[in-house]
């Protein structure tokens, strides 16, 4: 009867060269990298937008004078430009994130399978449009 093989009998005498690529700085100017960095950089816009909403809530809590001062500031070109940037950033984040979202779903949750990816994608857009319409209606006075 043959003797049992040593568990590491097939191991090469010298460790082979690693097949992983050497670490190097990313090429920041590649379109995919730029798009990824821009996606992360929208965090700055989200931070400032959150602070503006925080100011709105504090103004609402402080009374009519503080609220009127806040509303007057909203007409300032700087505020308008910033909110336009907020809108563009939110659309950019939404389009990119909702494209990734269906791919990040688990293949199976217990006995259930998630709906097909295009359906998840369509549902996200439907919810996005509905919530945006609701917020706009509430802010412009369509909802009394």
């Amino acid at each position: 009867m043959a003797r049992m093989a040593h568990p590491q009998a097939m191991q090469p005498a010298r460790p082979p060269r690693t097949r992983t690529a050497r670490p190097k700085a990313p090429d920041y100017l590649r379109p995919r990298m730029l798009s990824y960095l821009l996606f992360d950089a929208t965090g700055i816009v989200y931070l400032l937008a959150g602070l503006v909403v925080l100011r709105a809530v504090f103004a609402l809590a402080s009374g009519p004078a503080a609220w009127q001062a806040f509303v007057a500031d909203l007409h300032h070109p700087g505020y308008v430009a910033f909110h336009l940037l907020t809108f563009v950033s939110a659309v950019f984040v939404g389009v990119r994130f909702f494209r990734l979202f269906p791919k990040a779903q688990p293949a199976r949750i217990g006995p259930l399978r998630p709906p097909p990816r295009p359906l998840i994608h369509a549902m996200l857009y439907a919810v996005w449009i509905a919530v945006t319409a609701f917020v706009v209606a509430a802010m412009v006075g369509v909802i009394p």
Partner: protein
């Protein structure tokens, strides 16, 4: 600190996920009204009056929406700026950048909670 961040990671990811999803859903309308419709003169003066803002913002749903609009984007900001910091500066400085960004988000969320509770109930 690194160990604490790892322990808090499920909570941080939950808030980040809601920040990017709900924050984006809500901020699109907010930005559309104040960045496009307002300068085009499509928002009536009465719609932004204090009484109406109090009626809409002081309701339970209004408070929830305002809390989400103020607090959740801060968590998206914290996580993405942390990621940006690692991409440009390496992981070494993450030891102090990550706690700083999450502390800003936590403080902002706390302030938003306080502010939402301070809104008077519409009469």
């Amino acid at each position: 600190m690194r160990k604490l961040l790892l322990q808090l990671e499920p909570v941080i990811w939950l808030l980040f996920g809601q920040g990017i999803l709900i924050g984006t859903l809500l901020l699109t309308g907010w930005g559309l009204v104040l960045g496009v419709l307002l300068p085009l003169g499509m928002v009536p003066e009465e719609a932004l009056s204090y009484d109406r803002a109090l009626r809409v913002g002081g309701s339970l749903l209004g408070r929830l929406v305002l809390l989400g609009l103020a607090a959740l984007p801060l968590w998206k900001e914290a996580h993405h700026l942390r990621s940006l910091s690692i991409d440009f500066g390496g992981a070494e400085r993450d030891v102090w950048i990550a706690p700083l960004l999450y502390a800003i988000a936590a403080l902002g969320s706390l302030l938003a909670l306080v502010a939402v509770f301070r809104i008077p109930f519409p009469g």
